[in-house]
């Protein structure tokens, strides 16, 4: 079933075109990967899909309704957005940060109720962050902080999570942990979209991939359709070795192509 769809999206900042004529959709149960070189427009597309920026042209529909017509609160309950390198400005405890995920359900004068506390507890359990619930989030390692931010999103119980490079700068253990949580989330009525630079991780966890290049949709489809040595050479400008072992695809970048001008 279709959860989110975008068609004919154009977007620019100060007259500079960032995205051209993008079509995009997420079905329930899917983990969709958004890949492409730096500056290809991945983050911009994600911001448009969350509704915090508006496209210049084209339409985005969430659960069949135009995103522009959905109330901000309803949108916040349905879509969870994990900002790239999310950090807390004040020294909040872990539990408090995760508790922020309950805001879309709260009135402005209300404190947390039992249901909020239960959801926060559950989100910390799933992300295995219960052990440091009382620690100050800014003192945690990068991997632990990402898990806390992810717990904050899980506490909202969104149908769709949109995560912008959640595994950048994480060690392999935390990379796998974050991807497993997203994979686990993307089942049943729910789904997730994730921006990734690690193509092997994308191949391993995602159901479908969108490959962006200079603001255009270069390719989209299943992992084996998108991640070919040809596509990678054209879009990323590197020669690579793409190995398929049954379902597992691994991509090893080998050398830069000298006449590639990004």
């Amino acid at each position: 079933m279709n959860l989110l769809s975008a068609s004919g999206i154009d977007y620019g900042i100060d007259g500079v075109s960032i995205l051209n004529d993008i079509d995009f959709h997420v079905e329930t149960g899917e983990l969709v990967g958004l890949i492409g070189p730096n500056g290809a427009g991945k983050s911009s597309l994600l911001r448009l899909l969350t509704g915090i920026e508006k496209p210049d042209r084209g339409e985005i529909r969430l659960e069949g309704l135009s995103l522009a017509d959905i109330s901000p609160q309803q949108r916040a309950r349905t879509l969870g957005y994990l900002v790239q390198g999310a950090q807390a400005y004040w020294p909040f405890s872990v539990e408090k940060v995760v508790g922020l995920g309950r805001i879309p359900y709260q009135k402005w004068w209300r404190q947390q109720n039992d249901e909020d506390r239960a959801k926060v507890e559950q989100a910390m359990q799933v992300t295995e962050t219960l052990a440091y619930r009382n620690r100050i989030v800014t003192t945690l390692s990068g991997g632990e902080q990402t898990l806390v931010m992810l717990a904050r999103i899980l506490a909202t119980e969104n149908r769709l999570i949109l995560a912008d490079e959640p595994v950048a700068a994480l060690d392999p253990y935390h990379q796998l942990h974050v991807m497993e949580i997203l994979r686990q989330h993307a089942s049943g009525r729910r789904a997730a979209v994730v921006v990734l630079h690690d193509l092997s991780l994308a191949a391993r966890f995602c159901d479908r991939l969108y490959l962006l290049s200079h603001g255009n949709l270069n390719n989209s489809g299943s992992v084996s359709e998108v991640l070919t040595a040809d596509n990678i050479a054209r879009v990323y400008g590197v020669d690579s070795q793409v190995q398929c072992n049954g379902k597992a695809v691994s991509v090893t970048p080998l050398r830069r192509i000298s006449d590639h001008h990004p």
Partner: protein
């Protein structure tokens, strides 16, 4: 620590009791000893007496005004520090303090203050309003918070320059002294009329700022995350700034510039509310009220023939204290 739980009710209850005690101390303390029971009894029976006159016309308005101004400054400081995510922000940063002060100074300069009791506070409020209007015209459609701060700094500078101009050309040393003393900040010799004119604006401002509490909490994770949590960042920023302007404008209009309460109080309270901007606001209001009442008590007991001004003592104590806080907390704040 008990006070560090997620619930502020206990902390706020303790602070409220402390505030009531300090208020009682403030109204029972004065140049002459009076029987408070007799003062209230006489007023109840509508009998004019020296006691009831001293209590209702001198002490109570002064104490109430100190509490209201202190609460406003504490709350506004907490709100602005949350909005700007900067612990150095203080209520004057958006230019409204100097705007209000300029309005009041012009009244003294032209000698209008004798015409009617309300000329001074109304001029102050008008000044504050004009300052805010200027800032929003300057900021325009800009989405950047930096633009807001810079516009505030500019308006503050212009207000300060015009105040200096008024002092420069003040016709008599007496007018100049009047302006200077007023600028130093005080709640002495005020009546219920000042309370009446300031209170509606203060209450309005308080509600507007408290309304932004959840938004300020969400802002801890950045503007984009706050937007994704369903907040209209531009609208709520406007609500908060207007709330600060209304309440601080009213406070400065009746009490002059009183420094450091808005800057120091949120720092003092922050560890007790788990650094949460939303819970910080109400607790800062209560602590601000308590501290300004205590400062006013100190002013009354320290003053000899020349009365010491309230703003002088808050700066005198506040500045070194602020330094101490920074030294203590520099490891917690990034």
């Amino acid at each position: 620590m008990i006070l560090q739980t997620n619930d502020s009710r206990l902390l706020n209850a303790v602070l409220l009791v402390a505030l009531l005690l300090v208020l009682m101390l403030a109204v029972s303390n004065g140049a002459v000893d009076i029987d408070l029971g007799k003062a209230i009894g006489d007023a109840w029976h509508r009998q004019a007496s020296v006691e009831s006159l001293i209590f209702f016309d001198i002490r109570l308005p002064r104490a109430l005004l100190a509490a209201l101004v202190g609460a406003t400054l504490g709350l506004a400081g907490a709100a602005l520090q949350g909005l700007l995510r900067n612990p150095l922000a203080e209520p004057g940063i958006i230019g409204v303090s100097n705007g209000a002060a300029l309005g009041a100074v012009l009244v003294f300069y032209y000698g209008y203050s004798a015409y009617a009791w309300f000329v001074l506070p109304v001029a102050g409020l008008t000044g504050a309003l004009l300052a805010v209007l200027c800032i929003f015209i300057l900021v325009g459609q800009s989405r950047s918070i930096i633009t807001l701060i810079l516009a505030g700094v500019a308006i503050n500078a212009i207000g300060g320059a015009l105040i200096a101009l008024a002092l420069n050309f003040a016709e008599s040393p007496y007018a100049m002294q009047e302006i200077l003393f007023w600028l130093l900040g005080s709640v002495a010799n005020r009546s219920f009329r000042e309370v009446q004119i300031a209170l509606p604006f203060m209450l309005l401002g308080w509600v507007m700022m408290l309304y932004c509490g959840r938004f300020l909490n969400a802002l801890t994770l950045g503007e984009d995350t706050a937007k994704s949590l369903g907040f209209d960042v531009a609208r709520l920023r406007l609500v908060l700034v207007l709330g600060v302007a209304a309440s601080v404008g009213a406070a400065v209009s009746v009490a002059g510039n009183i420094g450091f309460i808005g800057l120091v109080v949120p720092h003092l309270v922050r560890p007790f509310v788990g650094y949460e901007p939303r819970r910080l606001m109400l607790a800062s209001a209560l602590v601000g009220a308590i501290l300004l009442l205590l400062a006013d008590l100190a002013v009354q007991s320290l003053s000899g023939t020349t009365e010491m001004k309230l703003g002088v003592i808050t700066s005198l104590v506040g500045a070194p204290f602020f330094l101490l806080l920074i030294l203590k907390s520099r490891n917690t704040l990034q």
